[in-house]
Structure formats: structure tokens, C-alpha cells
């Protein structure tokens, strides 16, 4: 392992640093999501796969973080564990100071309602509801009152104009995804998790979606965690975390597309050289 790290040193870009084995506790607590020593093991015995091999990470409020890494590196698993959709085998996660890994199903649902927003790759919207209805769905489900001003801001942000009364089937993939973003924003969650939000979109519509995500972080101060394969997508993030074999390999600031490509390449090289990722 140390061998690999040494080799990697030359190619660590400016903006990056190797993660400390245990991050310092964040003083003044601007971090809204805190994870410590997360491991996630699938299966048992010989067939066991360690999707996460000890991940610790702090996500600061208002920051847009991209999680990247080769296929099977544990991106989705990490996101699921951070969002409370999955339980880590060991380790703990705090969201807004609450240890979610200790919560019961009912409390988790409440957490998802109040503090977490989701954006998925597909199947984001209910087909029988209009765009507007989909947008406010979390509030409807929670039975919370709607903040008209906030709604107006969001409606403005998704830039759908008169198409808000249409059903998802009448909207393009990009438009649907924008509605999904607005929906994630509508309850003003502490953090939004997005898994490959542009995975199903062409580059132009993908850009629209990324633009909206970027604005959400910038203008509305929304904390966002986005899992992506796509270097273009990662360019909008304030921070890019590279996973490899279930560990954080690099933790970087803003990067250009080329820098991201180079980083990915160098990581692949490391991976090829040694202990390849768990089989998919």
C-alpha cells in the first residue's frame, strides 16, 4: 500500500491532498455530514466484498461535493450509507449533529423528510402527477405548509415556464431532472444526495441540470453530494473526492476537466498495478 502511495505522490494535483487516516474533528462545526470509519461488507466468508474499507469524511455546509471513482469503487455504497439508506457494517454517520446510524426506521423516514433530499438517475418523478405536483411532493407527503416565496424561487430556477402543469411523460429528460432537483430543494434539506443525476442525459441537457445544481449550492447555500462518473459533471463541484477500492484515495478542491481526467488516469494506473477493486 505504501508503495502505491509513494508512486502516486508525483501525480497528486495541486488541489488535492491525501486524506488523513483520521480527520481532525471540525471545530465550529460547519460540517453538516460527518462520517467516521465507515465500512460496508457485502456477503460473508469467501464471497465477502468490502465495498467500503474505512471511509471518514466531513462535508461542510453549503458545499458541493462530487464523489468520483472507477466502477465498483464504492461510490453508490458510500452515498447510500451517508444518506441513511443503507447501514454501514461499522462506523457512524452524523447528519446535522444526529447520529443517523443509530436511528430506527421511523426516525430515518422523518430524517429523510426534514433533512435529506435525493436525486436519482432515473425514475425521479411520479408519472401521474404534473411537474408542479411532483415538485411539491415532499411537502405534500410531510403535510408541511408551502412557502410560496420559496416555491416561486424554485419554479423560477427550474425555468420550465408554462410546462409546470405537464406530466413527466411530456417533459424532456433534462426538464424532468430539473424538476427533481427543485423537488429535492423544496423542503430546504440539510443535504442533497444525487446519484449520477446526469447519467441518463446527453451533454447539453446534462449541462442544464448541472447548472441548476451549481446555482443551488451557490445561490441557496445548499449542501450537495453528487456521485458521478462524468468528469464534466464533476467540474461544477467545489470539492471532488476520489474513491478507490472502497477508500478515499484523493480529496481535491475545484478542478478543471483535464485535471480530473488526468487524476482518473493516474488512479486507474495505480489500480492496474496492484490490488484491483473488488469484482463487480
Amino acid at each position: 500500500m505504501s508503495d502505491v502511495r509513494q508512486q502516486g505522490i508525483e501525480i497528486v494535483p495541486q488541489a488535492c491532498e491525501r486524506p488523513p487516516s483520521t480527520p481532525e474533528p471540525v471545530v465550529g462545526a460547519p460540517a453538516v455530514v460527518v462520517a467516521r470509519d465507515l465500512t460496508r461488507r457485502y456477503g460473508t466468508g469467501d464471497a465477502a466484498v468490502d465495498a467500503l474499507g474505512g471511509v471518514s469524511i466531513d462535508l461542510a455546509r453549503g458545499r458541493f461535493t462530487a464523489i468520483m471513482g472507477p466502477s465498483g469503487s464504492g461510490k453508490s455504497t458510500l452515498m447510500h450509507v451517508l444518506a441513511g439508506l443503507d447501514n454501514p457494517t461499522s462506523g457512524a454517520v452524523w447528519i446535522d449533529g444526529v447520529e443517523i446510524t443509530a436511528l430506527k426506521e421511523r426516525q430515518l423516514t422523518q430524517l429523510r423528510r426534514d433533512k435529506v433530499g435525493f436525486i436519482f438517475q432515473t425514475f425521479n418523478l411520479l408519472p401521474m402527477l404534473t411537474a408542479k405536483e411532483n415538485l411539491v411532493l415532499p411537502l405534500t407527503i410531510a403535510g408541511t405548509k408551502l412557502d410560496e416565496a420559496w416555491l416561486a424561487t424554485l419554479v423560477d430556477a427550474v425555468a420550465l415556464g408554462d410546462r409546470l402543469g405537464h406530466r413527466p411523460s411530456e417533459l424532456s429528460g433534462g426538464q424532468q431532472q430539473r424538476v427533481a432537483i427543485a423537488r429535492a430543494l423544496v423542503s430546504r434539506p440539510v443535504v442533497i444526495f444525487a446519484d449520477e443525476p446526469t447519467g441518463n442525459l446527453d451533454s447539453k441537457t446534462g449541462d442544464e441540470v448541472l447548472g441548476l445544481l451549481r446555482r443551488s449550492a451557490g445561490e441557496f447555500g445548499q449542501t450537495i453530494v453528487m456521485v458521478t462518473h462524468d468528469a464534466r459533471a464533476a467540474t461544477v463541484a467545489d470539492r471532488i473526492v476520489f474513491l478507490q477500492d472502497g477508500r478515499i484515495e484523493l480529496d481535491c478542491g475545484r478542478m478543471s476537466r483535464d485535471e480530473i481526467y488526468d487524476t482518473i488516469k493516474s488512479l486507474e494506473a495505480t489500480s492496474e498495478r496492484g490490488d484491483g477493486g473488488p469484482a463487480r
Partner: protein, 850 residues
């Protein structure tokens, strides 16, 4: 390909089980019906056969015409005929017997038989008798009787005990001389058997100098056929001579026509409803799974499977399902039959049975119905599957191409509605045999159901928005989402609701119709009877004529009159009911609804050949005042009657009414008993009732009631029948519950990702369950509303058609509301399992892309 579909069947066990249940229950009802009715038929056949042992030829009096009675008989034979019989060459022995129905009284209390008859018969010489004495002996002296073993055991009776026997001459105190088994059984299908001497039977049952039948034994070497032929030539024409084999067959057929066939037709109708409900469920299940398997079909097609292969795979699946379900249904049917036997046994009314009778016909019909329905219902979905283009394999959310059927569905629905309407109308208005008319009406109703089910998808949206309104309003997002879910695939919701609709439509039809019947029949009694007391017979039977004089003699009774009724043949054609009354006593106690200027004064002229005709009878035979018709009675006498007046009474005094004298001429003496005795009293009705009841203790079959109690008991009888019908219809409703469960389970499966997403954005499990539950309730109430509307409509049409028979149309609103609530409840129950599944959806699994 077939293997593939069988694997698919196995792979989706829950769906398969639910779909199969839809067929299993319907087939079980059909198979069970056949098993039970075959059993009854065989049971009676065995009894008749047993009773005929030792008898080669049987002689009765020929019926003047075959009427609507079970055993139409022309009355009794003169005793002198016995000597004539004995004189015929080849007769080894002959004996006359007298048969009647009576009642047994033990310790002053009439023995309740649970509806089974108490048969009284005179003893015959041992060679003709199947009574095996287990104690004492056959009655040798007048005033002694033998009873069957079951009665003796039930009532702890022994030889030497005294019991009361209800007869035409009032109650007789008789001493038990013996206790016997009939053949090897202690009873005949729960009936009570009493053997008397010939002389007693003749005296007590108005058959002095007469026999009911003569049993003949042939000399060795003489075949029954030869002997019967000889007897036919030797005896007068009124004697009906039959070999005992023939009479066993005829009697079996008569019982079968009266009980087995009627019961069979009725039960099969309920089974049919269940099967049709099942068909909708299968159709729906296959429609949904074909839609869900679209990419699988596309993939197969792209791998080179032909359309025919795709069709065969779906149809093969349906056939296999139908086969397994039918076999299970047959097994369940046998189980049902066994259960019912046990039930009858438990209440002491052993229906004569001969073990489980699984006729080949039962198996064939069950298989044909079960498999046929499955194939037919799966045909349209299967055809749709063949239209899946191979490229659909590449699309993420490919949808089924619209079926060939759907393009023409408005036309098909319209045609079905029109043909159904015509068939229904033909069944109701065109004359034909009852069976063919019932068939036409049934077919019409089914076609209308299909038509409504096809167009129902257009009303799903508006109905759901109305029904779902309270849910959306008060249950927030769950209600809203449920409503949206219910309307997102209106065709599916409509088909699911249609299954419930059918069951409920029949329930509502029965309820409304019964209400009308109750209202009209009971109000007719209320309106027409102007008397304080009504005496009626046991289970619709007659009362001994002698009871009338007894009632008249009771202090407090002002007047009493009997209402006598018999079947006659009119103008050598069809039969009609003839009522005989004594105009003087009956007139003041009956409020006639006179037509065409008639009045009570006409009763004064009701003598000899005069007849008062009921409106319908008049219309049927084109009669009016002054015209005449010929009536033939079972005595063989023909009488010409002249119409002196017309009245309306479609429920009680149907046919025509004549004077007592004229009636007696046409009706054999042993059938001249009143069905009712009505008595007026100026005293307190309750006191008079008590006095009459005391006086009629001598006639244990007579039931004394005040008019109010009598109408109440009529209502109760209708209600009891209704309960039974509802129980039978409940099966259809249960099947539709499975249908809703099935649809919901499939929908939940289909929406797994959606559910995962909903859960991810904060929907609680409870909310998830609620969404499914509300959707279920909305669907079932749509079915309930459609069913109620259809049922009321059918009832309206049929009641209007029967208006001339006194059936009024009256809607039991309270009950309809109850039915709708039940429908909603059905939805709640159906949702339990699917809702649990929805709530259990694992968010991670759900959002994991395929």
C-alpha cells in the same frame, strides 16, 4: 416456449395462486353442485328401489293430466280393484296400501321434522314391505302403529308407549306396536315414518273404501313386463299400471325434476356468476403480466421467436393454470359437498345420500369450464403480447401496443350491450320454455356486464375523483396519490372493479327484487285478508279439512272459511290454479279488487258453473263476462265454467275461483284440504288466536297466527331465503376480493421503484400502506357503484315486466348503502397483503437500476 411459461407460472407463485383461486372457487361451486345433486338423486333412487323390492308391478290411479305437482296423481283406487287384480293370471299376490302425510305428537308436543315429511302408510304383507322390525311387530289391531327407529331414538319411545298422530280426523291417540328400520336405515332422508293398519289409514285419511296404490307380485316365471301388460288389458282405464322398475325410474325422475334439477339449476347459476367473476380476474391478471413482461417478449422476438410462439406461450400458461385450478376446484367441490352433508346431518335433516358421487360428467364439465374460461380470458392479453415489436427490448419504458381489440372496443361494447339487451328482452318477453328463457336472460346479463366493463374505463376517472375526494381532502397526500394511482390505468382499474361489480349487481338485484316481492306479496295479504286469524299448514302444506269445523266452533270466532286450491287443465291446454271457496263465509273476509264494475254481490252468484276469473287468467284465455272455459280436474271430470266477474289478485287467488261444490267435483277427496283457514273475530285477536290454537291441538299440522304475525312470518321466510342467496353470492364477492388483491400485488410490483423513490423522499410505511389501501377502496367502491346501478336497473326491468304479477319495484335504500359500505370494506381487506408488500419495499433495492 411452453416450458418457459410454466417456469414463469412457478416463478410468480403468489400471483399464480391468486389467479388460480379465481377459477378454483367457481369450479368448486359447479363441481360441488353436481356432486350434491347427484347424491340427492341417487339417494332417492336408492329409496325407491329399496321400497320396490318384492313388488313386480305397481298400480296407481292415472293422473287426468300431468300438472305442476311433484307426483301428480289422480287420487285413489277403489278397494274392489284389488280383487280384479288378484283375478289376473300370473298374479301371485297383491296388496293395497294407503299413504298420507301426517304429524306425530309426543307428550302434547308436535315433533318437529326440520322440513322433512311425516309419512303415514298402511302396513303391507311382509313380501311387499321393507320394514325390518327391531322391536315389537307391525300394527295388527286398529289404534296401534309402528314407527321408524330414528323417531323412537330421538323421542325415547318404546313399544307400548302412546303417541298422538295427526290425521284428517283430528289427532288420534295410538299405541306403538313396533319399531322398524326402513331397509337398513333408521329413516328415509330425515322423514318420520308411521305404519298403521289399512283400516285406520283409510278412516283417518279420508280414504274409506280406497287404496292409494296396489302392489303386485308375479308368479314365478312371469316377467313383470308380461304381468303389467296383462293387468293393463284387464283393468279399467283409470288404473296406471307400471312395472316396479318403471315406477322407480319415474319416481326418481319426478323427484329429480322437483328437487335435484331445480337445486342444480339454481346452484349452477350461482356457480356461473362466480366463474364469470373469475374470468374478469384472469383477464386482468394476464393483461397486467403481459404488460410487465413486455421486454421479455421483445427479447424473445428479437431472438427469433415467432408471434405464434409468443401466443402459444401465454395461452399455454393460461391452459396450465386452468387445468390445475380445475382439478383443485373439483377436489374443493367434493369437499364442499361433504361439508354440506355434515351440515345437514348436524341439523338432523339427513338428505338421502349414497356416498360421494363423482360422475364423469362432473369432471368433464368442471375441466371444460375451468380451462375454457382461463383460455378465453387470456386470449386478448395473449394476442396483445404477440404485437410486441422486437425493438421494444431496447427501450427502457416500452409500453404495449394497443390491442387489436381496443381499436374496436367501443363497437364491441356497443354490440355486446345491444345483443345483451335483446337477449335479456327475449328472455323476459318472448314465450318459451323456462330453461331457455332463463338462459337468454342470463346470457343477456353477462353480455351487458361485459359491455359495462368495457366502457367502465371511461367512468373510472370521474368516479375515482368523486370517491377519492374525501381521501384526498382529509388524508392528504396518501389520498391524493391513491386517487392518482387508481386512475393512471383506467382499463385495469375498470376490469378489477368489474369483477366486484358483477357479484354486487346480482346481490343488489336480488335485494331489490326481494324487497319488491316482499312488499307486494305481504301487502297483498294485508290488503286482501279481512280476518283476524290465519291458520296455515306446515311448510306450505294443507290443513285437514275437519279443522275448519273446529275453528268455526271456537267461541269468539265469528266466521271461518277455508281457501282450497288445486291445479286444473284449462281447455285441454295448459294448467291453471283453481281456488274453491264458500262464498257466504269467505266473501266478507276477503277484499276483492273488482274489475269491470264487479262487486261483492257477484259472490252471491258463485254457484255451480259460475267462475270469478283473475285478470291474468282472463287475459290468457281471452275471457270476459259471459264467456266460458272448460276445466279438467284430477278426478277426470270436466266442467264448463261461465265467467261472472273479473278481479285483480296476481299473488294470492291466481287463476280462477269457483264455489266449493264445483271445486269438490273436480278434485279427488284426499286432496280436498284447505291451504288456509281465515277466521274473523270481534273479540281481541290475541285471545281468539289462543282459543283457536287450543282448539286446533287436535290438528298438529295447523299453525294459528294473528294476521299481523302471519304477514311477519311471511317476511321472515323471504329474509331467510335471502340470507341463503347472499351466502351463495358471497363466493363471487370473495373471488373479486382475490382479484383486487391480485391487481394490487401486481401494481405494487410494477411500481417498486416509484415506491422506493417515495420512501426515499420521506413517505412513511404507514403512508405507503394507506396509499395502497385507499387505491383499493376507491377501486372496490367503483365496482360497488357500478354493480349497484346495474343491479337496480336489472331489478327495475324485471319488476316492471312482472308488474302484472303483483311485483312492485321498490328500492331498499338502507340496504344499498350497506352494500356500498361492504364494498369499501372489501377494498380494505383486499389491500392488507399488497399494502404490507408496498410498505416493505426496500428503498435501496428499489432505486437500484436494473
Amino acid at each position: 416456449m411452453i416450458r418457459l411459461s410454466l417456469r414463469d407460472l412457478w416463478g410468480r407463485k403468489l400471483r399464480t395462486a391468486l389467479t388460480m383461486l379465481a377459477i378454483v372457487l367457481g369450479v368448486a361451486m359447479i363441481a360441488g353442485t353436481y356432486v350434491i345433486t347427484d347424491q340427492i338423486d341417487n339417494g332417492f333412487h336408492n329409496i325407491f328401489e329399496k321400497a320396490a323390492v318384492g313388488t313386480d308391478v305397481n298400480i296407481t290411479r292415472k293422473a287426468a293430466f300431468s300438472g305442476s305437482d311433484v307426483f301428480s296423481s289422480g287420487g285413489a283406487l277403489p278397494v274392489a280393484l284389488l280383487d280384479q287384480v288378484r283375478a289376473v293370471k300370473g298374479v301371485a299376490d297383491a296388496a293395497g296400501t294407503v299413504e298420507a302425510s301426517g304429524a306425530v305428537v309426543v307428550n302434547g308436543k308436535s315433533v318437529s321434522t326440520g322440513g322433512a315429511p311425516t309419512l303415514v302408510f298402511s302396513t303391507a304383507p311382509p313380501r311387499f314391505s321393507q320394514s325390518k322390525y327391531i322391536a315389537g311387530a307391525a300394527p295388527a289391531r286398529d289404534g296401534t302403529v309402528a314407527i321408524n327407529a330414528k323417531l323412537a331414538t330421538d323421542k325415547h319411545l318404546q313399544v307400548g308407549d302412546t303417541i298422538g298422530l295427526g290425521t284428517e280426523q283430528g289427532q288420534q291417540q295410538v299405541v306403538i306396536s313396533g319399531i322398524f328400520d326402513f331397509g337398513n336405515s333408521t329413516s328415509i332422508g330425515g322423514a318420520t315414518l308411521v305404519a298403521t293398519t289399512v283400516a285406520d289409514a283409510q278412516r283417518w285419511y279420508n280414504q274409506e273404501g280406497q287404496y292409494s296404490a296396489i302392489s303386485v307380485a308375479a308368479e314365478p316365471g312371469v316377467t313383470p313386463d308380461t304381468l303389467a301388460a296383462r293387468l293393463k288389458t284387464a283393468l279399467p282405464a283409470y288404473a296406471e299400471v307400471k312395472t316396479s322398475a318403471q315406477s322407480v325410474a319415474d319416481n326418481t325422475k319426478a323427484v329429480s325434476d322437483a328437487i335435484g334439477n331445480v337445486l342444480r339449476t339454481i346452484l349452477l347459476a350461482f356457480g356461473g356468476v362466480a366463474v364469470i367473476v373469475g374470468a374478469f380476474i384472469i383477464f386482468n391478471a394476464f393483461s397486467i403480466t403481459v404488460a410487465q413482461r413486455i421486454r421479455e417478449f421483445a427479447m424473445l422476438r428479437s431472438l427469433g421467436a415467432t408471434r405464434r410462439q409468443v401466443l402459444a406461450s401465454v395461452i399455454g400458461e393460461a391452459g396450465a393454470l386452468g387445468l390445475i385450478a380445475s382439478l383443485l376446484g373439483i377436489a374443493a367441490g367434493i369437499g364442499i359437498a361433504k361439508g354440506i352433508n355434515a351440515l345437514f346431518h348436524a341439523v338432523g335433516a339427513d338428505i338421502p345420500t349414497s356416498g360421494i358421487a363423482l360422475a364423469p360428467r362432473t369432471i368433464v364439465v368442471s375441466l371444460v369450464v375451468g380451462i375454457g374460461v382461463a383460455l378465453l380470458a387470456a386470449l386478448a392479453p395473449a394476442l396483445r403480447a404477440t404485437r410486441v415489436p422486437p425493438v421494444a427490448a431496447l427501450h427502457e419504458g416500452a409500453t404495449l401496443p394497443p390491442s387489436v381489440v381496443s381499436r374496436y372496443s367501443p363497437i364491441i361494447a356497443a354490440v355486446a350491450a345491444v345483443v345483451g339487451g335483446v337477449s335479456l328482452a327475449a328472455g323476459m318477453f318472448v314465450h318459451g320454455t323456462t330453461a331457455s328463457r332463463l338462459f337468454e336472460m342470463g346470457l343477456g346479463a353477462v353480455l351487458i356486464f361485459v359491455a359495462v366493463a368495457m366502457v367502465a374505463k371511461h367512468v373510472v376517472r370521474p368516479l375515482a375523483s368523486v370517491i377519492g375526494w374525501p381521501a384526498a381532502r382529509f388524508a392528504g397526500s396518501s389520498g391524493r396519490l391513491a386517487r392518482e394511482n387508481a386512475t393512471r390505468n383506467p382499463a385495469r382499474t375498470a376490469a378489477t372493479a368489474a369483477a366486484l361489480m358483477i357479484g354486487l349487481a346480482v346481490v343488489v338485484f336480488v335485494a331489490v327484487f326481494a324487497q319488491g316481492f316482499k312488499t307486494s306479496f305481504v301487502s297483498a295479504v294485508d290488503r286482501s285478508v279481512n280476518a283476524a286469524i290465519v291458520v296455515s299448514g306446515q311448510s306450505g302444506g294443507t290443513i285437514p279439512d275437519a279443522a275448519l269445523a273446529t275453528v268455526r266452533a271456537v267461541p269468539g270466532v265469528d266466521q271461518a272459511a277455508g281457501v282450497y286450491s288445486a291445479t286444473t287443465q284449462i281447455n285441454d291446454g295448459s294448467t291453471a290454479s283453481m281456488t274453491g271457496v264458500d262464498p257466504v263465509t269467505f266473501g266478507p273476509m276477503w277484499r276483492f279488487h273488482w274489475l269491470k264494475g264487479g262487486s261483492d254481490a257477484l259472490l252471491g252468484k258463485l254457484t255451480g258453473g259460475a267462475a270469478l276469473v283473475e285478470e291474468q287468467f282472463a287475459a290468457k284465455y281471452n275471457l270476459s263476462k259471459g264467456k266460458s272455459f272448460v276445466a279438467l280436474g284430477q278426478t277426470g271430470t270436466k266442467q264448463r265454467f261461465t265467467v261472472i266477474g273479473e278481479f285483480r289478485d296476481p299473488t294470492l287467488l291466481t287463476g280462477f275461483t269457483v264455489s266449493q261444490n264445483a271445486f269438490d267435483r273436480l278434485v279427488p277427496s284426499n286432496q280436498r284440504d284447505p291451504f288456509y283457514i281465515i277466521a274473523s273475530s270481534s273479540a281481541d285477536p290475541a285471545q281468539t288466536e289462543a282459543a283457536v290454537a287450543t282448539a286446533l291441538k287436535a290438528f298438529p299440522t295447523a299453525k294459528v297466527q294473528t294476521k299481523a304475525d302471519y304477514t311477519a312470518s311471511l317476511k321472515k321466510q323471504v329474509d331467510q331465503l335471502l340470507t341463503l342467496i347472499y351466502a351463495l353470492l358471497a363466493v363471487s364477492v370473495i373471488i373479486s376480493v382475490f382479484g383486487i388483491v391480485n391487481t394490487l400485488v401486481l401494481s405494487v410490483y410494477e411500481r417498486t421503484r416509484e415506491i422506493g423513490m417515495l420512501r426515499a423522499i420521506g413517505t412513511t410505511r404507514r403512508q405507503m400502506r394507506r396509499i395502497v389501501r385507499y387505491e383499493s377502496v376507491i377501486t372496490s367502491i367503483i365496482g360497488g357503484i357500478l354493480g349497484t346501478v346495474l343491479g337496480v336497473l336489472f331489478a327495475y326491468v324485471v319488476s316492471t315486466r312482472l308488474a302484472s304479477q303483483g311485483i312492485t319495484f321498490s328500492v331498499p335504500w338502507g340496504q344499498l348503502v350497506v352494500f356500498l359500505i361492504v364494498a369499501g370494506f372489501v377494498g380494505v381487506i383486499a389491500a392488507v397483503l399488497p399494502a404490507r408488500r408496498a410498505a416493505r419495499v426496500n428503498i435501496l433495492d428499489a432505486i437500484h437500476y436494473e
